[in-house]
């Protein structure tokens, strides 16, 4: 009997030992893992760089992005995109101007569409250029993460021209900061006020000033609970965070008067505006707390309560762990992150640091286990192949086809990042189609683009041909499979390498980018 027990004991020991040695990731695998999760995958030379400095140092670097210099080439490219620096009010002014022109004269309708499309494309172009070329990769990942968390839809009215400012002014500056600051910035940005209708929400007894235009009067005559509901359900507590329909209505009352005046803003006025005449000055009962009338401070206080609520800490932690570790994140990790969130008053960088140094993040079962979203897939493919991208349209078109148009999520919950949401037969085929044209150099990525507004002018003046000729750049080059293998390295299994190397050379790069291994990260 004792003999058997000792044999079992030794067997178990041996088994554990072999498990733990298998659990060690090599330096290359560790580099590959951080580049896949904290960045949009490796570009040529990235793996060597991270192996050289060590994955831990790479994480520290990424968490302090201001110390990473931005290459001059990237700065120059962003400078050429005029709206990246343009104030939101100025964009709104242009929007109204052309809207009026189109109203006065139907001939101007095309110009209106062109302007909207142009602003939309510029916004998307700036986002993609940074995501592909910025060395501050984690910052780009977090911009996307938080934009999604506080999603607004660019297809809704004024938000067409406001999203660029929303991302630049309300999201980007706060992605590693305090959650409360991020929450406050999104709550006050016109893009959010407009998207979830809070700009129209007023006290039930509100009467618009006598000089207001008649049609505007009837539009603002009471409460709109859209923002208050999503603020608790999506941005903070979560749907099971313990609030009732009454809490939604009471929070909507608290937030009455949080608005903006588009016309004023277009004239250079303030973006956010607390309108005390619209505010509901009665007392409220919200989340078992009595709220005395204090004007704007009621809302500020409500955001304090929400930002420091344990349910919020749990929800944010869960979402970060789901994004960075696993579709079904381990509960002990979520608990530790939530504790860190509460201990640091919602300091996002601290929570991320805890996450990236956790054993769960480095657990081999959690390496290469996430199915890429279309956004991650497309970005990682162009980063790995290192094609020169002048024209972003083919990438934007691919995102549309894959069901993830940039700034195009209609609903406030944003895009999911799970395999369940994105893996399906048709999606695989489409990704493979994209992989084959990209690998063959047949996507027109390196062509100069003529914005639609010029094409329009060309059409009228009959000189379109000359522009079109100038635009026809040289076709892209086919991607070299050997270089791709070097760049992406440890992601590809032995099996995939064998099958790829057995295929005809012209297909190898397409097979690598379209392989099951590259669908995951």
């Amino acid at each position: 009997m004792g003999h058997w027990i000792s044999i079992i004991f030794v067997t178990v020991l041996t088994f554990c030992a072999s498990q733990s040695s298998a659990a060690e990731l090599s330096g290359e695998q560790r580099a590959s893992h951080v580049l896949n999760r904290l960045a949009y995958g490796p570009r040529p030379g990235d793996i060597e760089y991270v192996v050289h400095i060590g994955a831990e140092r790479y994480i520290d670097e990424q968490l302090a992005p201001s110390r990473i210099p931005i290459p001059e080439s990237l700065t120059q490219r962003l400078k050429k995109i005029s709206i990246t620096e343009m104030p939101a009010g100025e964009l709104l002014r242009q929007f109204f101007e052309i809207q009026k022109a189109a109203k006065d004269n139907p001939d101007n309708k095309q110009q209106k569409r062109d302007l909207q499309k142009d602003i939309g494309e510029q916004t998307a172009e700036a986002r993609l250029i940074r995501a592909i070329y910025s060395p501050r990769q984690l910052e780009e990942v977090m911009v996307d993460f938080w934009f999604n968390h506080f999603n607004v839809f660019a297809g809704k009215g004024m938000d067409r021209v406001l999203v660029s400012s929303y991302e630049r002014d309300a999201i980007r500056p706060y992605v590693f900061g305090r959650f409360r600051d991020l929450l406050g910035a999104t709550a006050k940005h016109p893009a959010m006020l407009f998207y979830l209708d809070n700009w129209l929400s007023v006290a039930a007894d509100y009467r618009p000033p006598a000089f207001a235009p008649k049609n505007k009067k009837s539009n603002v005559s009471g409460l709109n609970e859209n923002y208050a509901r999503e603020l608790m359900e999506l941005h903070t507590l979560g749907v099971d965070g313990g609030y009732s329909q009454r809490d939604v209505t009471e929070l909507a009352r608290v937030l009455t008067g949080w608005t903006f005046n588009p016309r004023e803003m277009a004239r250079g006025g303030a973006q956010f505006h607390f309108d005390k005449t619209r505010h509901d000055w009665g007392s409220k009962d919200w989340l078992n707390r009595h709220v005395e009338p204090r004007g704007q401070n009621e809302g500020e206080w409500a955001l304090d309560v929400l930002a420091s609520h344990p349910a919020t800490a749990r929800r944010i932690s869960y979402r970060l762990a789901q994004y960075f570790v696993s579709d079904t994140p381990p509960q002990p990790l979520v608990d530790r992150l939530a504790r860190r969130f509460l201990d640091t008053q919602g300091d996002i960088a601290s929570v991320l640091k805890t996450l990236f140094s956790s054993s769960e993040f480095w657990e081999p079962a959690n390496v290469g286990n996430k199915f890429k979203t279309p956004y991650q897939y497309v970005l990682s493919a162009v980063r790995a192949t290192n094609v020169l991208i002048i024209n972003m349209r083919p990438l934007l078109g691919t995102l549309n086809q894959l069901g993830m148009p940039l700034y195009g999520c209609q609903t406030p919950d944003g895009y999911k990042n799970t395999e369940e949401a994105w893996m399906n037969p048709d999606a695989l085929t489409r990704r493979i189609n994209f992989a084959t044209v990209l690998a063959a150099g047949r996507l027109p990525l390196s062509q100069t683009v003529i914005p639609d507004r010029f094409q329009h002018i060309d059409k009228r003046q009959g000189v379109r041909g000359s522009h079109a000729d100038a635009a026809r750049g040289q076709g892209g080059l086919a991607i070299d499979a050997g270089q791709l293998l070097n760049t992406v390295g440890p992601m590809f299994s032995e099996r995939t390498r064998t099958v790829v190397m057995g295929a005809q050379p012209g297909l190898r790069s397409a097979l690598l980018i379209g392989s099951p291994d590259f669908m995951r990260h």
Partner: protein
Amino acid sequence: MDRRTFIRTMGFIGAGLIPMGHSAWAIASDSPTPTQRKLIVIFLRGAVDGLSVVIPYSDASYYRLRPNIAIPRPGVEGGAINLDGRFGLHPALGALEPLWQARKLAFVHAAGSPDPSRSHFDAQDYMESGTPGRKGTVDGWLNRLLAELPGVSTPTRAVAIGPIMPRILSGRASVANIASGNAAGRPSVLDRPQVGDAFARLYQGDDKLGGAYKEARDSHKEVMASMEEEMRAANGGAPLPNGFPQDAARLASLMRNNANVQLAFMALGGWDTHANQGTAKGQLASRLDPLGQGLALLARRLDTLFQQTTIVVMSEFGRTVRQNGNNGTDHGHGNAVWVLGGAVNGGKVYGDWRGLEESHLYENRDVPVTTDFRQILAQIAERHLRLSDGQLGRIFPGMSGGGNLHLIS
């Protein structure tokens, strides 16, 4: 049955204490004979305002509670289309009037989920899982229905239109998803044998993605074959506007040319009208219009197949009875479910309608839910698709039986 009793009953049923309701139509055997009948589900994400779709124009409270956004009575300019002297149809849905006249279109008013959630996302999830109040359900009810459908399964037996696999069709039975818009049925680079074979070898080794890859290839072949058929039969009709009518027409062609397709799903967004929803014209009308056009086109293009088809249009919940402060409506509860098809006992508004008097409203703001949406779906599954009680119990576990609807003849 009041809400509380209903929930209590549901609780017992959930615990397996009450057997499924028995109906005269139920087939005793648990393995019914294969049927060629079809079911199409259209989901309106964002909660369409059912009180603007099926308008209780004979109810004075409707006009009192919605002074700016009520649809006027029939006969007035921009007024509702009279349905039955009590309810009217939104004027933007005029394309559906012939189907109503032909008694192929019915509505069930005050229908919805027994779960009170006003979260879009939870409510959609429950309607797609078919298990209101239970978040852990892994698959969708349409996938469970597919698994129960007798007969031979083929790669395109169930089809989702759009780039992502919806919750309602996710589960163990395999489902094809095809693109919406012009990309549907386009050839793929994988049709070239050399490329297709190489990728097939690559994906063979992957447990999870390998299966999906194979499904993609199989369904693509079937869809391509039916599309080629369509090219040959090219009808000289005018080109269709983009969006739903186009997808609906394409679905009809696919179903006509490929008898294997029995279940189809499509989702349309943009119904969350919190502000300025409009009346006869405006935001909501501009979305209802292509929906009505598309449904009428679908019925017409299905041609003789329409006799064997049931189409259900549903949304996660209704909207508040009172207009809000911005000429819109907020999240509510009960809504109208639309049912069209050859076997539908149409020309009738079903459901236990209690009027819009404040005392009859759910939580003093919404249309109460008097018909569980699953009763409607179960009746279609039972009478139209001829599934047994045992099968219904597996598709909608924990649902109370029967109801007194006679939607399907």
